[in-house]
Amino acid sequence: MGFTENDMAAKKNLIVIGNGMVGHKFLELMIAQKATEHWNLVTFCEEPRVAYDRVNLSGFFSGKTAADLSLVEPGLYQEHGIHILIGDKAVRIDRMKKLVHSSNGGSVPYDKIILATGSYPFVPPIQGKDAQGTFVYRTIEDLEEMAQYAKQSKVGVVVGGGLLGLECAKALQSMGLETHVVEFAPRLMPMQLDDAGGQILRAKIEALGVSVHTSKSTTEIVSKEGKVSKMLFADGSELATDMIVFSAGIRPRDELARACRLEVGERGGMVIDEYCQTSDPDIYAIGECALYNKRIYGLVAPGYTMAAVAADNLCAPQTSKFMGADMSTKLKLLGVDVASFGDAFAQTPGSKEIAITDAVQGIYKKLVLNGSGNRLLGGMLVGDASDYGNLLQLVQNDIALPPHPEDLLLPPREGKPAAGMGVENLPDNAQICSCNNVSKGQICRAIQENSFTDIATVKKCTKAGTGCGGCVPLVTDLLKAEMKKAGLEVKNHLCEHFAYARQELYALVRTYRIMTFDDLLHQHGHGLGCEICKPAVASILASAWNEYVLEPVHAGLQDTNDAFLANIQKDGTYSVIPRIPGGEITPEKLIVLGEVARDFGLYTKITGGQRIDLLGARVDQLPYIWERLVDAGFESGHAYGKALRTVKSCVGNTWCRFGVQDSTALAIELEMRYRGLRAPHKLKSAVSGCTRECAEAQSKDFGVIATEKGWNLYVCGNGGIKPQHGVLLAEDIDKETLIKCIDRFLMFYIRTANRLERTATWLNKLEGGIDFLKQVVLDDCLGICTELEQEMEYQVSTYGCEWKATIEDPEKLQRFRHFINSSQPDPNLMHVEERGQKRPAYEHEKSVLGRSS
């Protein structure tokens, strides 16, 4: 097997049978504990490739390759002297001679064995189940076979509506098949959801085009010319199909254990104790092949826990125990959030349920409370599982609930925080960062002991929030709470250079007519500034005085996008997006864009905002590109700035038979009015010509929808990371009123928002919410509307195209070169061609292309 005599004498042999997710995790943990100094590690891997991410297997059909799914860093096993026997299978364990025999006829002596054999898909004993066109869903090879067969198929059926079945349905759908799910139980995900939750999930999944058939017991699979053609059900119905995938549960792979007479459970699985040892103390079992306390744990997280327990105990016996695992899960199935946690089925005697069903939005939420209604025992969430983390904390930490636990189910009202789930209520042992297993107590202690006052150092010191980043809001809340406790004022300071919030700096700039960053810094700040305050102040100055952003006094403040009036891409090249107001463009201008893109070799793509993005421009090419564009009548599109981006539109009543107003004309007018307006964050807008809302105005910072009588104005909508619908600010108003309202709304936002705060977040935090905003904008309750309108009028009248100004100024053009002392462009840029256009080379491609520096 490649060991030397010395190796064999000095170290003991540990054989890991199975190189799936759990087997690999075990090896990783052994490496981390430096156990390779004491053990020769050998692992059998019957599949033709090393461990991969089986949980995200359906990603294979949305473009991921086997390499993308791999969990093993190339060279990891070799580097640590782990012998991996790919494509070789352990076929027999001889416990007397302590040998493992393999499928290629060899044998390996062992001191200890880890069984990580996993499971196999259960195929119900249905007549015709072996016909051509039936599949299981477990390995990449299964998927490849499915994909091959799907090419000649139109319809696919998944048998099994559980977690894996729905994953599999997603796979079939992404292969372009008409997809059906057949479930024996009366509902989908019967192990995780109740009837009401199953209903909502079903409606959502059907809306995605997957047909769901529940309470169906398949009696026969009928073939035609040797290939699957239809399924017959016990109720007499039938379903025609070209292929069938079985995903009706898993069974532990325990054949090796049975053959060598280890204790196995009645329904399979190697019986293990709390140290993950089987009935033979030299043989361990981990993952879904192991049976602990009469239970198989078919999720990856408990498998990982078992791997850790086994690794610990091999390094230092009986140091760690497996105590069962929480089966709470949160998943995205076919894009639908589903979560189930704790005692989700209210099996605790005396427990009570609170549930809401929102069939309109497709949301179901259920809480299971104890008899006295003051503790959360479990629950399920369908359609919106964003509260999962918080709710699970309440269960795991046995936290007293607020007086109205039903509030936990409702989304926060605008302007009000969510009910009763502040991080301060969590106990010290609550796990905040699950990626790095950091508790609340650890974070608070670190903050107290080091007197931290900023989130970056807390993250760096505790590692919390450095994995997926999902807990960063919780960590921030903890920091604020700790600072408050320590008597420190929780300041909304922009950064270490200014002891003011953005809103305060904006007021200072306006009140004292401060025109430059240096003046503001000398009068109200200290130090040299940084990448936080410089762009923020640049934006404030632009919102107030609207001077050309590349004036010498402003140029050094601009983030690289503003500094080069283009969007930097990952390789340091830029993208160019000229303004196309309202998305309307003449054929002549479109031809110019095509010619420019062709002549400069730019990758071309249509943006989401009805414009055209030309990517891959080198910094030295930008002025030449813009010379051509300005000549043809194009202007800067400000896609690089925290500024107005686009006003999208539909064609409106000029062409559309449903349109009631000219949405295109209005969109162009609005875009021309607000072009170049700089704000705390980017601004997007849209105008729809009728209530069908083809321009998606309700997802914009300000959106307008035509009515028979005039226009409806929606504000503070947002796509992006946390989508939010706009709220109606004014109804059936004429164009003049509309423009006044938008002027006031935008300037009020610019005055009062935090740095990099989109309008949606701003409104959520605005005290008084939309009602207050209406009073300010419509009723002028603060008496500032005239001022706001004047400020906007100033912006509109002082607009100038930044690119036109730049190409007319030879001194400015000096900066558009890569080297100060050479006219050579960046020699390290590398591109490859894909689908007839160029794109930046990936790292592995660069090494092939050869790096020149």
Binding site: L528, C530, L557, T560, I568, G572, R815, I820, S822, E843
Partner: protein
């Protein structure tokens, strides 16, 4: 990032541009004997900082286009791609102590900025 290359004390000085060509608080990139070197001036000072132009996080040659400033008095530049900060004097990444980038000595001779290039650990 560290690669064993012979280090010499004796620097070779290469003239790259005039001091004025580097606007205060705005970086430029110079090509020095095949290496990309980012040069910065802070405030009205004439001192010129020189660091490698290569951003190890984005693997792009872009640091000269970052915003300069200070963190608690330490002069630094933030990468324009993912915003990690690098100390201009030492090349150390202020957000990840495991990372640092090469720096270069500079001097000003008759209004011209010169970069010393032999004190190089490695470019990449």
């Amino acid at each position: 990032m560290t690669q064993a290359l012979p280090t010499h004390k004796a620097s070779q000085w290469v003239t790259v541009c005039s001091v004025e060509a580097i606007h205060p608080n705005m970086g430029v990139c110079a090509l020095v004997e095949g290496k990309q070197v980012a040069l910065f001036r802070l405030g009205q000072e004439t001192e010129v900082f020189a660091i490698s132009n290569y951003d190890p996080f984005s693997r792009a040659f872009v640091l000269s286009r970052g915003l300069v400033g200070d963190r608690k008095g330490t002069p630094k530049v933030a990468s324009p791609i993912y915003k990690q900060n690098f100390c201009l004097a030492t090349g150390k990444c202020l957000d990840d102590e495991n990372v640092s980038i090469p720096t270069f000595p500079t001097r000003i001779v008759e209004g011209q900025v010169q970069v010393g290039i032999d004190k190089i650990e490695s470019q990449l």
